[in-house]
Symmetry: C2
Subunit: 159 residues, 2 copies
Amino acid sequence: MGDTEGGDLRSVLPRIMQLGNLMNRSGLGERAMKRIGADLDRPGLSILLSLHMTGKALRVGEIADRMQVAGPHVTRHLHVLERRRLVRGLPDPDDGRARLVELTPEGAEIADGYVTTLLGWFGEALAGWSPQDRRTFYDLLLRFTDDFAAFLSASTDED
Amino acid sequence: MGDTEGGDLRSVLPRIMQLGNLMNRSGLGERAMKRIGADLDRPGLSILLSLHMTGKALRVGEIADRMQVAGPHVTRHLHVLERRRLVRGLPDPDDGRARLVELTPEGAEIADGYVTTLLGWFGEALAGWSPQDRRTFYDLLLRFTDDFAAFLSASTDED
DNA sequence: TATTGTTATACTCTATAACTATA
DNA sequence: TATAGTTATAGAGTATAACAATA
């Protein structure tokens, strides 16, 4: 009984890993960057995407949280981005220790171009799919990431 | 028309990225490793998993291909794994330049324990899903990774 | 005293170049 | 001469520790 399901899941795990590698390691990001004519390292792009996806100015610590990296890493890459005028820092009116970071129009353009490029590729890859299958896949993938993230954070305490 | 679909896809992209980060960056691997009482860095584990998933001895270059890294990276980590008796190298009977690498029972045990742990977690995260939804999700995810990988390699030439 | 962020430092991961041995 | 692998070296990515400023 459980055997059959375990077997199924067992065949899916490599694909989840593969997908993860495809997204991070496969040079996909570099290709997209090249396509839009931008020249940015991955951490720099990641900062831009964090700001872009959130759609508002973020504190340095918030960016680090979203990227799942330590604070100093963000600080260093922000220097580069600021020098290139892709982000700009503002004082946080609510907290004098903190600093708000927001995209400049140039930074927003890169982030948006990157996302649009990737979306285009996904769209092409799914060109042969029926609308129903696409819908179903989107729904289940959303549900899966939610459930899995929830499970992970719920089980963080146990250890 | 296309607008609606673009909107859907647009909401899914962050999840695919999130899933990628969950798999690579989130400390998931470290947690699994700790759970099974193993102490291995990520590249070392990755080598073990490559061998485990393939189920046979691989040449150094084949391991590098699967990991999507350069050869010397594999060589260096193989030294560590060999010293710890988690893999062992054999001469390739077909090619005197090459070297075959295979898991020892100890290495196989770690790889298997790791995979089993992750599968358990995925299973728990999907505990509330109906068997049909699980099946559908597995099927569509397989199809998606296949189609996407195919698209990527097909469009590699263009550039 | 706790928290936000920065500076300084060090370590891990990975790539490139130079080389050796076999094909 | 081309290919498989190794050794040597360098660079990117990231963490930790020590510090400054504000809460």
